[in-house]
Symmetry: C2
Subunit: 340 residues, 2 copies
DNA sequence: TTTTTAATTGTTCTCGTGCACAATTTGTTT
DNA sequence: AAACAAATTGTGCACGAGAACAATTAAAAA
């Protein structure tokens, strides 16, 4: 039952109409008499028709260009991983007529704007974007919508715009997970620090989300341990920690700059550290015991899924989810290898 | 450069021969004059031809049957999850002519043998097998090899046989992860228990692997905390724990039966518990704080990948890896939702 | 040389969909 | 009723690979 796969021709025969009529009913284009439409509909419902996507894509075969707007990854391991995921998907879909154009912006809002604009000018069939700079993004996305270019977001969600799919983490939950782990590891009689290291904090709503989630957990469990929040724009500002570290039980770093802490913690070895991302410096410190836990943001999957979902949409017109949340992977030294 | 995609016709034109000749050279069948073969070869190498897989699979369209041999999952959440992954993949590939035949064995070696044999008798194009009973498997696998039926293994690796791909965890590492977490959570001045709950331990090499990995970690770090190992064939045997629990810091359960502990631990609330699998009873106890950590074995991915890899092989003749190791996901109450 | 056989090459059809175009039926106006 | 427009329905072809079949050429036997 239902196992057999029917073709347009089968349906036409069953409904005593021509293939063209069936086609018109399915795609409701052209004109069809009520009578014929009804007959076809009945057959369609009975057999639960699903079109042969292979044949469809063979016919509809045209090349599709996806523009990829991501940070320059020449000296950035995290974004290089993301790019690796993109490359893998690119390779897989190349034979289905998907071609990528890369626009890598150096990490300034100006260049982001510049490269993004270049990408739009290319008039691609779809776009994959890592919109690191929130403030500059809105106007650019409106231009995409005017041109009806579908686009996926990775890493940084932007609520206000009509993107296709967002692929990334639930950052509030991410913060909660960090808090639970911190609570399990760190003694309760000293204070906890939350540290942001980020040049453009005004753009980084997701860091704020992590902080909120972290505090939320402590609130929900009525833990009155003091939590202090610090924001550093530059690595060297971490020197200020010297006066803060004494009396600290654990530190939650909201970015991949977690490894920066190590230099400042030589006399504080038993402070627990929880941070983000499996970049080599972090992984090394994880293995050395200087970092206790890393939360993995799955950059490879972000890139891979970002392109795959767009490709499936372009080739097969598959429907795509609005949000694809990636798991909040907890990484310690013993399982780090299986995420690399 | 290399970006364009060439067709057989393009090649034929470039080499001044007919499409048929190009086809014969590519698949080296039939007879071709040396002269013509050389011309075609030259063109092929110059343009780095890759056939259009969509067109190929449209033409070559024949239905493939994959036999699925897994434990009966009517009252087993873990295997039902696995089946869900299989169903999802089935749905995705049905339109590409992949059909599944299920052979669910009740959990005895005899029925495993029986159902497995039935599956072979069906002469499927490929098989997906969860070979829970090691001892009975070898002969069955030899029969598959004689018939040249490709097969994937999930959940339980069997080293000696020529399977296509194994999809599952590295169980030794899995035990090591559990040990590291136990070491971080449980006090060091009391003993640690490792508990197997399994009817057919002689078949379950992977449980033994977990135990080995667990002890290995403690050895590697020169931790002299006592570790005691218990094996229970039946749930009720856990009553014996009463005398053992006092003086226990933590328990590592190697199977999904982790939830069975709770009933025996009412007076021992601060014993840390680490176990396996996100079955509802475990998840509930995780949220209630009765279980501290679960290691997720990704049954959904096991099923999904198991079928997907076979399908890609059958449809597109894609090459597949020998082993696909799934991550060792660490699950606590705050991130459990994103794995469900 | 003619006939037969083998070697090589060329042509055509199929897969299922989607779209353009052709053919037919229906309805309306003179 | 004839002429025409509008509505509806039917048909043919393309997509690219692959394989059966037909056609051509070359070589061997009569």
């Amino acid at each position: 039952m239902g196992k057999e796969r029917y073709t347009i021709r089968d349906i036409a025969d069953m409904a005593n109409v021509s293939r063209g009529t069936v086609d018109r009913v399915i795609h409701n284009r052209g004109t069809v008499s009520e009578e014929a439409a009804k007959k076809v509909q009945e057959v369609l419902e009975k057999i639960n028709y699903e079109p042969n996507l292979i044949a469809r894509s063979l016919k509809a075969h045209k090349d599709h260009v996806i523009a990829v707007v991501i940070p320059d990854y020449s000296d950035d391991y995290y974004w290089r991983q993301c790019a690796n995921g993109i490359h893998r998907s690119e390779k897989e879909f190349r034979q289905f007529g998907i071609f990528l154009q890369y626009f890598e912006y150096s990490k300034t809002p100006e260049d982001y704007n510049e490269k993004f604009s270049q990408a739009i000018a290319l008039d691609p069939d779809a776009m994959l974007i890592a919109p690191v700079y929130y403030q500059d993004s809105l106007e650019l996305f409106h231009r995409l919508e005017e041109k009806r270019i579908p686009y996926n977001l990775i890493n940084t969600p932007i609520e206000e715009v009509a993107y296709h799919t967002f692929i990334g983490q639930d950052y509030r939950k991410s913060g909660r997970v960090a808090a639970q782990l911190m609570n399990a590891l760190a003694p309760h009689d000293k204070k906890i620090l939350v540290i942001h290291v980020e040049q453009h904090l005004e753009n980084s709503t997701h860091l704020h989300e992590k902080e909120q989630g972290f505090k939320e957990f402590y609130n929900d469990h009525n833990i009155t341990q003091p939590i202090e929040v610090f924001t550093f724009k530059e690595a060297q500002q971490l020197n200020d920690l010297r006066t803060v570290l004494p009396g600290t039980a654990g530190i939650f770093m909201t970015t991949s700059k977690t490894y920066l802490l190590a230099d400042h913690m030589r006399e504080h070895e038993n402070i627990k550290v929880i941070g983000y991302d499996l970049i080599p410096k972090n992984v090394q410190q994880l293995k050395e015991g200087k970092i206790d836990i890393l939360i993995h943001q799955n950059p490879i999957s972000q890139g891979y899924d970002g392109i795959s979902l767009l490709s499936d949409y372009l080739i097969y017109k598959k429907e795509v989810p609005k949000v694809k949340l990636l798991p909040l992977d907890i990484v310690v030294s013993e399982n780090v290898d299986c995420y690399l």
